[in-house]
Amino acid sequence: MNIIPILVTAAALFSIGIYGILVRRNAVMVLLSIELMLNAVNINFILFDAFLKDVLIQGQIFAIFIITVAAAEVGIGLAIVLMVFRNRKTANLNDFDLLKW
C-alpha cells in the first residue's frame, strides 16, 4: 500500500487536534484533543517503522514509550484540572486567570 494516504491522514488528525485545543473551552476537552495529536504521532512512528523495515524496530519501541508518557500526562493533567476545579468551581479555561495581572 502507498504510504502517502496514511501520512496525510496522520497530518489531518494532528491538525484536528490543534483545532480542538484552540476551540474548546473545557479543560478536559483540551486534554482529549491532545490525545488525538499524540495518536497522530504514533501513526507516523508505526508507519515509518513498517516502511523502513528497521532491524531494531525503534518505531514501535518509541510508540510504546509515547503511549506510556501520554498515560502519565493524562493522570497529572486531570489531577491539576481537578485541583483548579476544587478551588475555582469551574473547568472553563477562560476563567483560569489566576496568573494573569
Binding site: A12, R24, N26, N39, A50, I61, G75
Partner: protein
Amino acid sequence: MSWYEIVSYLILVLILSTGLRVVLTSNVVHAAISLVLTLAFTAALFLMLSADFVAWVLVLVYIGAVIVLFLFGIMITRAPLGKNAELDNINKITPAVISLGIFSSMSYVLVTSFSGEVTVVENSSIEKIGLILLGRFVLPFEIVSFILLAALIGGIVLARKDASLISEDQI
C-alpha cells in the same frame, strides 16, 4: 485494488471521521466515546501495518484506562452533560485557519518528501520487541517506569484533599 488496500482506506476514513467528531460534537460524553472509536480504528491500522503488540497496548492502555480517567474527569468536574453551546469559543474562524494552514504545510512537505510502498511482514514482532526493549533500550525503559511512578505519586498528592495546605482564604 486489493482487499488490503480497500480495508486500509476504510480504516483511514473512519479514523478521520471519528477524530473530527471528537472536536466538533457539542456533547462531552460523545466526544470521549468518539475518541474511543478513533483509538480503536488506529489500533486496527497498527494491525494492518504488522505492529500487533503496539496495537494491543493501545487498546489496553487507552481504551481500557485513559478513557475511563477522562470519563471520571468529565463527571467530577461537572462538565455540562448533554448538548450545550458553551463548550466552544465564539471565534472558530482563527483556529480553523491555523489548523488548515498547519495541515496544508505538513501534507505538502510529506507528499513531496516521501514516496513508496509499505509491505507487510507476516510474523509477529512481539518476541523482537521483548528482546530489544530489555536489551538495547533497557535504560529508557527503566526511566519511563520511573516517570510513571512519579506521575502516580504526583496525581495522588495533587488530587488529595488536604485542608491544612489549601484553605479558601489562602487563595
